[in-house]
Amino acid sequence: MGPTQISFKEHPPAFQTSRKAKLRAEGINMVFTRDGAAVPVLENINLEIREGEFVCLLGPSGCGKSTLLNIIAGFLAPTQGQVRIDGELVQGPDSRRIFVFQERGVFPWLTVEGNIGFGLFRLPRSEREQRIARYVRLVGLQGFERTYPHELSGGMKQRLEVARALAVNPDMLFLDEPFGALDSITRLTMRRELLRIWEAERKTVVFVTHDIDEAAQLADRVVVMTARPARIRRIVEIDIPHPRDISSPRYLKLRDSIFEEIGLAHNV
């Protein structure tokens, strides 16, 4: 996370979240048909995610981790298996669980305010306005309330999309390589922002990335996936509290274990 931080303070463990299972994916198989040929994408995925947990799905590009996220979010139905959230079978998208796309997901025809208020159409006007103001502040977009997305930078659009998702007070957030299109400096800032927001709001987060450092910096647990057809290779617990000292031996050891798991050497 940006500059190396050495902290002498006692931190509570990173996952002092309740141990209650939030999400349970059981025996997920996914087969796409392409030009008449069956292409297996996901193979026997079993995964449990606890409430309030920050989980990264990590794997090479095109391995199927986004497909898994889309299944969890209810946008795709798996060929086999099922996903249960709070014991309830997932059968479609739900406003209690918001999917954050790359910054392309914001509605270009709405202002910052309009975007953040998009999902709040059931609330009375005054409450809606309060929520909008709150989330504008949370993601630091004050002064841009009436601005349209095409006038915002990539990082601002990404923050806007996160704010739009949080405004409906979901219990889960699904992020699909949300910072992939940002420059590396903005990406680091955004990671810190996301962690700050996550610590403030304590949503259960499932975050797809192909960036090993990103996964190791953010997640409570990193689900390492294989190349296609994707299976879960291993789940690495990152038991380091935030803010993480990314030069600490413990961090480096865990990160390197992920590198090894993926089969990459230490040297470039």
Partner: protein, 274 residues
């Protein structure tokens, strides 16, 4: 980072802008200067020739004044605009919902596309005999021609606009719990509006081309009729060119009006380069 964001936003929104320098003023004036000198050359050339190839700008201007005095100018403009308004509006009201619906269902699109592609290259003018057969000589025939000329391009544009909606926007709409009607009203419509405005602008241009042709044959009023009538009744080429100039000016005004819709804040995103 925040500061950089602000600066780049202000730059892009054009709030940091230099004043109009004399050099830029010249650039702005250049098209008018060119037009003016062309007029001078035209007048000079028209005066030098003995045969009547083209009336000069002064006699064309006199022709416009004469038409205005006889009360024909306003009457014919209104007649032409009346037909365009009806034909074009009917087409827009029908074609946009039809096109959006067809575009939303891939099977319908696949079924109807061949028919549309065959009808599209047929000039609306080829329908003149049939429209006279069906509706007789009169306003309805002309309006029908304009309707035909506008309907197909608008339908096809609406179909393409729907097909071009980013799936992330549909998914986001569904994710926030929008029902079908809400999804159409809050995601689909705003997403296609920029493209529809362009399609309406281009189609209005086509409608304006077609009304002139339709009026030459199917009716006895309007700017198209004026042109044919001025030639038939005494070779008044000054009035012919006067009619042409009026068609051009009104066409430009219509286009400018439609173009101004593209400046609406909530559709501007559809035209920005990034």
């Amino acid at each position: 980072m925040f500061f950089n964001d602000c600066v780049s936003v202000l730059k892009r929104s054009g709030r940091i802008r230099k004043g109009l320098s004399p050099a830029k003023l010249l650039v702005r004036l250049r098209p008018w200067l060119f037009l003016g000198s062309l007029m001078v050359v035209w007048q000079f050339g028209a005066g030098r020739q003995s045969t009547h190839i083209l009336p000069g700008p002064l006699s064309v201007a006199a022709g416009i004044v004469e038409l205005a005095q006889r009360g024909l100018l306003l009457r014919y403009i209104v007649a032409s605009l009346f037909r365009v308004t009806w034909g074009f509006s009917l087409a827009a009201v029908l074609a946009i919902p039809v096109g959006l619906t067809i575009g939303s269902y891939r099977r319908w699109e696949m079924a109807l596309n061949p028919l549309l592609q065959v009808l599209r290259p047929i000039s609306p003018l080829a329908w003149i005999p049939i429209s006279i057969l069906w509706f007789g000589v009169g306003d309805v025939a002309a309006i029908f021609l304009i309707f035909l000329a506008s309907f197909l391009p608008l339908t096809v544009s609406a179909m393409n606009a729907v097909a071009g909606i980013a799936p992330v926007h549909i998914h986001a709409g569904q994710n926030f719990g929008l029902g079908r009607a809400q999804l159409i009203y809050r995601v689909l419509f705003p997403a296609v509006t920029p493209q529809l405005i362009v399609a309406l602008r281009i189609t209005l241009g086509i409608a304006w081309l077609v009304v002139v042709a339709a009026e030459m044959i199917a009716v006895n009023s309007g700017l198209g009729f004026l042109i044919v009538d001025a030639r038939n009744a005494g070779n008044r080429y000054d009035l012919v060119v006067a009619g042409m100039v009026m068609i051009g000016v009104i066409g430009l005004l219509l286009d400018t009006g439609m173009r101004s819709l593209e400046q609406i804040e909530s559709v501007r995103w559809g035209y920005s380069e990034d």
